[in-house]
């Protein structure tokens, strides 16, 4: 029987040797090259690592000696084969369980991770100290690029509206911005910004009160923070760091809080209006008017309150149903106050133009 021969590199030079393997004691073996008389150092079986074992070609390395290699073509004699380490295929963990079991387990974990990424923000957001959120909101918004409308009469009217809807001053700041979009946003730090376009579009102060109450709901439930945490989490999860210059302001402005959060915010709006004896009928009318434009005005819808506050007949009906027969409703603002609020942006001489300065 011909002796089993292997090839060998010592990792010091590139010289290839044609060697025989002889066991030495229980735990070691030694390689020798009979033709040249070369003899290697004893090597422990346990130090062997697999470099490759494919297509009838096997190669092994040494745990502590970089470049040390031995290998052979075909099959090794059983006594040697039994001592050789087994090759990894998909990776150590996956090999242990088998491909399909591992794939199933990973699918389960992946599902949990995705679910967690969607659900966790609502749990994490309330744990972030309010003071952090306030500071962050202030840093992000500042004076909104000088676009905040302020006149003595307008400010007084707005304060009167806020006092009725938000008597406990849960929102830190409510302002009107000189931007002609039918929109209102809640920013981190409990700041509500009503866009002038919304106030001009509204038929009565009651409608603005409804929107304000809704935004107050987002403040109370910290929905903005939840949305931010979710966005951050998703960008980390998806490794979306590279090249993402989308910007966080856009992120905040286009945050959608989800159906549940919107419903909850509507509940707050209705409760606050009831407590303040303001009729929800105006808000219902507002929904109807905005929805009446139909699907045709898509571009416009994308830029309005409706894009982040999906319009549905259900929501309109909910506000309609909240109207109590025989209740003694008072308008959210009297006529003079309403006029002052509507003129707030037009008569503020120092306010920045809507698109005059970049965000």
């Amino acid at each position: 029987m011909e002796a089993f021969r292997l090839w060998h590199y010592d990792g010091v030079t590139a010289v290839r040797r044609d060697v025989a393997l002889a066991a030495e004691g229980e735990a070691h073996f030694r390689l020798t090259e009979p033709e040249s008389g070369w003899t290697g150092e004893p090597v422990a079986w346990d130090d062997l690592t697999v470099i490759g074992a494919d297509k009838g070609r096997s190669a092994y390395g040494h745990r502590a000696l970089p470049g040390w290699r031995m290998g052979f073509a075909g099959d090794a004699p059983p006594d040697i084969a039994a001592r050789l380490p087994r090759a990894e295929r998909y990776g150590r963990w996956i090999d242990r369980f088998g491909l399909w079991q591992a794939a199933a387990a990973f699918t389960l974990v992946a599902g949990l991770v995705v679910w967690g990424a969607l659900e966790a923000p609502a749990l994490i957001a309330p744990m972030i100290p309010q003071s952090w959120e306030n500071r962050m909101g202030d840093a992000m918004v500042g004076d909104f690029g000088g676009r905040i409308c302020s006149t003595p009469a307008g400010d007084k009217a707005l304060a009167a509206l806020v006092a009725r809807i938000d008597p406990d001053a849960e929102a830190r700041d409510v302002v009107v911005a000189n931007i002609p979009l039918v929109n209102a946003v809640t920013l981190p730090g409990g700041r509500i910004i009503l866009f002038d376009g919304l106030i001009q579009q509204a038929g009565s102060p009651d409608e603005v009160a409804g929107v304000l109450g809704h935004e107050l709901g987002h403040v109370r439930h910290r929905d903005t923070m939840t949305g931010l945490v979710r966005q951050l989490g998703l960008s980390v999860l998806l490794g979306g760091f590279a090249g993402d210059t989308g910007g966080y302001l856009n992120g905040v402005l286009s945050l959608s809080y989800g159906r549940k959060a919107e419903d909850a915010a509507d509940s707050v709006a209705i409760a606050q209006m009831r407590a303040a004896a303001i009729s929800p009928a105006g808000t219902a009318a507002f929904f109807e008017r905005m929805g009446g434009k139909g699907e045709g005005a898509n571009m416009e819808r994308a830029m309005t309150w409706l894009s982040s506050h999906p319009l549905s007949a259900d929501r309109r009906k909910r506000f309609e149903a909240a109207v109590q027969r025989g209740a003694a409703y008072r308008p959210a603002l009297d006529a003079a106050q309403w006029r002052a609020l509507r003129r707030s942006c037009k008569s503020d001489p120092s306010v920045e133009d809507a698109w005059g300065r970049p965000f």
């Binding site: 990792g11 290839r16 990973f106 590279a242």
Partner: protein
């Protein structure tokens, strides 16, 4: 212990796509179910297969990189570059909102330059990483340079290249290639790269036909809309609209195809010049892929991906490696008893930077 090496027989790829398919498909499956995390291990399995089926002279290459080190490299980039960047971005947004537009601009430009710098560093380090994990005859490659200086070189040489109407781009590309390769070694032998930019100029000047092509494009555009070109030139057409649209599409596609062809022809010439002037000890490398070969590769890629509705993309890495090795050659002599082990330092982490910045090693 010497081997006379014949250029064409020196490099050979002996893999087979049917052998590779099980690796490619299980990689795809595992990458999906792990939400992408497995991709580092997938890359490693793919490279192990490709390297171990690549014969150089009398023995196959070995890839000893691991998925774990690629993963660690990715995490390092995430923490060291990704997080600061996120805050920078956030800060710039906040500054703009507060009216500090100038300061925000400075911050943004600084961020862009940082990315620019690290792109250069990443190219260098990716090559170093790949060489340090590539073994042949029990010997590996590497570099003692960490690539920080190369990042600076990359920045100024790339910027200068664009100053005189981009005429220095071939010089910039080739000098950067030389600079990168000259810092690399395999075993005890350093690579020597002496690529020249001058032989590339003829191909490169073809790019300057592009403005003429764009004028053609503008005419075609004006043709459709009956518009006016600059300088009061009015284009009118008596063709029926459908013919005009077809003419427009033909010219439009033609311009872009031509530009793509020029780029391909230039790149083919670039790699030939670069690798034909690369040596290691007594070995002279060569690369003989012509523009036609690149075209075949490119259209093969497109056909493969389109015809399989995208799934064929998992074979692209295989195709590119095979293309590279098939056209690679080396001639000269190699003394295996004189080729000693590399003494370069190896990092414990992989090419995370490159992965994050999405640039290739070549």
């Amino acid at each position: 212990m010497t081997d006379e090496v014949d250029a064409q027989a020196s490099f050979a790829f002996e893999g087979n796509w049917r052998d590779y398919a099980p690796i490619a498909f299980t990689n795809l499956l595992l990458t999906i179910v792990t939400l992408g995390v497995y991709r580092f291990w997938a890359t490693t399995r793919t490279r192990r297969y490709l390297w171990s089926n690549t014969r150089f002279i009398d023995d196959w290459l070995e890839w000893t990189g691991t998925g774990k080190e690629l993963f660690v490299g990715f995490l390092m980039v995430l923490v060291l570059i990704g997080l600061p960047f996120l805050f920078l971005q956030f800060g710039a947004q906040a500054l703009v909102l507060q009216g500090q537009v100038a300061l925000a601009g400075v911050l943004t430009i600084m961020a862009a330059f940082t990315i620019f710098y690290f792109t250069g560093v990443a190219r260098f380090r990716a090559l170093r990483y790949r060489l340090s994990r590539t073994w042949w005859h029990g010997i590996r490659g590497g570099s003692d340079d960490a690539g920080w200086g190369y990042g600076g070189q990359y920045m100024w040489r790339t910027m200068v290249a664009y100053l005189p109407f981009g005429l220095l781009i071939p010089w910039s590309m080739m000098s950067l290639w030389n600079r990168r390769m000259n810092r690399m070694s395999f075993g005890s032998e350093p690579f020597v790269a002496r690529g020249r930019a001058r032989p590339l100029m003829k191909r490169f000047l073809l790019f300057y036909l592009a403005p003429i092509l764009f004028v053609l494009l503008a005419i075609a555009m004006a043709d459709i809309y009956g518009g006016e070109l600059g300088g009061g030139i009015r284009v009118t057409s008596s063709f029926p609209p459908i013919l005009r649209i077809i003419a427009f599409l033909v010219i439009f596609l033609g311009v872009y195809t031509l530009l793509g062809l020029i780029a391909l022809a230039y790149y083919a010439a670039f790699l030939r010049e670069a690798i034909d002037n690369l040596s290691l000890g007594g070995l002279q490398f060569s690369f003989e892929a012509s523009t036609d070969d690149w075209l075949a590769l490119f259209f093969g890629d497109v056909a493969l991906v389109v015809c399989t509705l995208g799934i064929g993309a998992i074979f692209l890495q295989y195709r590119h490696w095979k293309f590279f090795i098939t056209h690679m050659g080396a001639a000269g002599e190699i003394y295996t008893d004189q080729l000693a082990q590399s003494r370069t330092r190896t990092d414990r982490h992989g090419e995370g930077l490159l992965d994050a910045l999405d640039v290739g090693a070549f």
